[in-house]
Amino acid sequence: MNALLAVLWKDLLTEWRSRDRAIAMLLFSMLMVVIFHFSLPGGATTATRAYAPGLLWVAYVFAALLGLGRSFAIELENDAIEGLARAPVDRGWVLLGKTIANLLILGFVQAVTACIFALVFEMNLMPIALELIGVVALGSLGLCSVGTFFAAVAVRTRLREVMLPLLALPFYTPVLIAAARATNSLFETGSVAFEPIQFLIVTDASYLIVSFILSDFVLDE
């Protein structure tokens, strides 16, 4: 547990000092919102709002992949990854610490992106802000848990920037389907449907447990 807090603190502090990952992710997801506007017929307005939940999650997924890839790439400098792997602690906690750090950094990016998204699609997200935060947090936990796990694998391969999306995206589909469905019901009715939330909780729990158990095999010297 102490290892989790130590890794979480280290990752957040490193990010706070450089701020490069969060800024890159933010810029990327903002650019995606702009690109969505140009790709939709008639632009991103109230008329095309039906596409908003799906597009919002596409932006989140790609921003997440961008940030997750960096989360282990920074450990390659000075062979810091060896230190992480050799630390006399359970590697599951190390991975979980990184997962939570990624979740918090992604959360910041998602919050700003949602504001821009609301402006572009002319939506008022304030009345459903709390519910939206809950849905996004549940969906992002799924993205970050399995994403951090595969980032540890991808960082040890050639072409790691390409490898991470290829490894992670098939695992993102259940999360993406349920999260987009929950967001859709939230945007349309103002309340969250129970089924997708239940599904997200099950998916998050399975991803967290499996990545914790298999962490020894992906974090190696």
Binding site: R156, T157, L167, T173, P174, P196, F199, V210, F217
Partner: protein
């Protein structure tokens, strides 16, 4: 294990695999002939006509594909447990052969679908999950070719192979709960095939599974030879003083 095979000639096949390959080749040749005859003489479907005969190719391909992926996941788990390289050689063989049969299934499916449903593709749960499975095991093969170091490659691949099969129920439920309507029959109930269609179907499944086994054995043999050749080359290099 590398040391155990390093003294072998790279071109020699182990006696066990050689014997198994002889048996599977003979039975496979016979089985293909019987299957082809049964498919030819099977009655035409009263609604779909000739195109229904693709069933005898399409569904057996799925049996073989899923069997190949199951081999990969099970052997991956055994590799992680026993740390024996032989399991990894079977795992990679299973994945490659599984992807081959999965591709055949994904090609034959749309041909049948266009003829009966009127669409090349539908986002039916079974179809979508299988497409994702195809992506997963292609990523598995890419992961193997992009990872350096045989132990690490085997370990990463084993983890991904197991996770790949484990994510299938999640994807299936997600699509079933929130996705499109099912187009495939829910299950193969007894008696869902018409009179005279059971035997060609059974022969197709048997032939596809046997072909899968035969190809897995060939691929394992190839992997054994590759590893033996690499070990010999390394020994030669060290003898030369490089």
């Amino acid at each position: 294990m590398t040391h155990a095979v390093s003294n072998q000639e790279p071109t020699s096949t182990s006696p066990g695999i050689s014997r198994a390959l002889t048996i599977t080749s003979a039975v496979l040749a016979l089985s293909i002939a019987i299957w082809a005859y049964l498919v030819y003489s099977a009655p035409l479907d009263s609604v779909q006509g000739l195109i229904q005969k693709i069933l005898y190719v399409h569904v057996p391909c799925w049996f073989a594909a899923y069997a190949g992926f199951a081999v990969t996941a099970v052997c991956g788990a055994f590799y992680l447990w026993k740390n024996d390289e032989r399991f990894d050689r079977v795992a990679v063989a299973g994945a490659e052969v599984g992807v081959l049969f999965c591709t055949l299934g994904l090609v034959t499916g749309p041909i049948w679908a266009k003829g009966t449903w009127g669409h090349w593709w539908a986002w039916d749960p079974r179809l979508t999950v299988t497409l994702l499975l195809w992506f997963i095991y292609l990523a598995y093969l890419l992961l193997r070719s992009f990872t350096e170091g045989s132990t690490r490659t085997a370990r990463f691949a084993a983890v991904y192979g197991i996770a790949g099969l484990a994510v299938i129920p999640l994807n299936y439920f997600a699509i079933q709960l929130f996705g499109g309507a099912a187009m495939h029959p829910n299950n193969l109930e007894r008696g869902s095939l018409g009179t005279g269609m059971g035997w060609p179907f059974a022969a197709g499944v048997f032939t596809a599974l046997l072909a899968m086994l035969h190809l897995v054995l060939l691929r394992v043999d190839l992997e054994n030879k590759r590893i033996a050749a690499n070990a010999n080359a390394a020994e030669w290099d060290s003898d030369e003083g490089f």
